[in-house]
């Protein structure tokens, strides 16, 4: 059975949304595209969906980046740590979840907010 890879984007988002520890610290999770319309109150997490590479019926590589925003890096770094814990290698069925680069502590100049990101690659034949 072939499932659309787009469904994996929903599944990936839901892993964080279903992490009680993460949602307790950061109750507001959004898709990064929503930042064009409004900036939520901090702290919040924004999921950026990156390119999907690979051939159909071969291994697909989906890329995601969680951006964690807050008023202090203690909260942000705690969110990064909880995010790491929420996504073990087998977080998604029939996939391999690889945790990638954690960015430096940065200021998003456009939003005027402190932030840090963690990148993921999901490998799948689904």
């Amino acid at each position: 059975m072939t499932l659309p890879v787009q469904q994996l984007s929903v599944d990936f988002y839901n892993v964080a949304a279903n992490s009680s520890a993460l949602v307790t610290l950061i109750p507001r999770l959004i898709h990064a595209e929503e930042l064009k319309d409004a900036t939520p109150a901090v702290p919040f997490g924004a999921l950026r969906r990156g390119p999907i590479t690979g051939e159909q019926q071969d291994v697909r590589r989906l890329t995601f980046t969680w951006w964690w925003y807050g008023s202090d890096f203690y909260t942000i770094n705690s969110a990064v740590a909880l995010c790491e814990a929420a996504y073990p290698r087998d977080a998604l069925a029939f996939c391999e979840v690889l945790q990638g680069t954690i960015s430096a502590e940065v200021t998003d100049a456009a939003l005027g907010l402190l932030a840090r990101s963690i990148a993921y690659t999901v490998l799948t034949r689904r």
């Binding site: 990064a32 930042l35 064009k36 924004a46 950026r48 990156g50 390119p51 590479t53 590589r61 890329t63 980046t65 951006w67 925003y69 990638g100 680069t101 960015s103 940065v106 200021t107 998003d108 100049a109 456009a110 939003l111 932030a115 990101s117 990148a119 690659t121």
Partner: protein, 154 residues
């Protein structure tokens, strides 16, 4: 008694080939990554300086990156100098801070404008190019390094 001196000499000679064999593999994939960056649709162009100055190149050992840095910086300077609109961004070049061992080889993805950091981070990376390209090519870079050394060993 077996004299294995020559065996060790030849094995050492072989090991010395590996870093450059990996570099050759990495170079090919770096070219593909650079093309992807320069073709990005993540951001548009006001001066075109960032797009023109995207570079992906091998570093480590004899690969200082000086030539690529000069090329990237010159591309940014030329684009801004010929642009009709000045958005205030400027060409920029700085030390990457990356220190590699003698036998280490890597690929550096960068551009030569002073607003690249903003592009990578603003609005949760809305206009980011360097990080997503690295994500997309990470496995291919590893394979390219392995293929390069394998080609030398066979």
């Amino acid at each position: 008694m077996i004299d294995d001196t020559q065996l060790y000499v030849r094995l050492n000679a072989l090991l010395e080939l590996i870093p450059e064999a990996c570099a050759a593999g990495l170079q090919a994939e770096a070219g593909a990554a650079q093309t992807d960056m320069q073709d990005t649709s993540a951001h548009g162009d006001i001066t075109g300086a960032t797009r023109a100055s995207y570079r992906a190149f091998v570093i480590g050992g004899p690969h200082t990156g000086a030539q690529e840095a000069e090329s990237g910086l010159e591309a940014a300077i030329a684009a801004i100098a010929s642009a009709v609109t000045d958005h205030g961004g400027r060409p920029a070049s700085m030390d990457s801070g990356i220190v590699l061992g003698d036998d280490d080889r890597g690929v550096l993805l960068t551009s030569y404008t002073d607003y690249q950091d903003k592009l990578e981070t603003e609005h949760a990376g809305q206009k980011a190019v360097l990080a997503p390209t690295l994500q997309a090519h990470a496995t291919a870079f590893t394979k390219a390094a392995a293929d390069g050394s394998r080609a030398k060993l066979t």
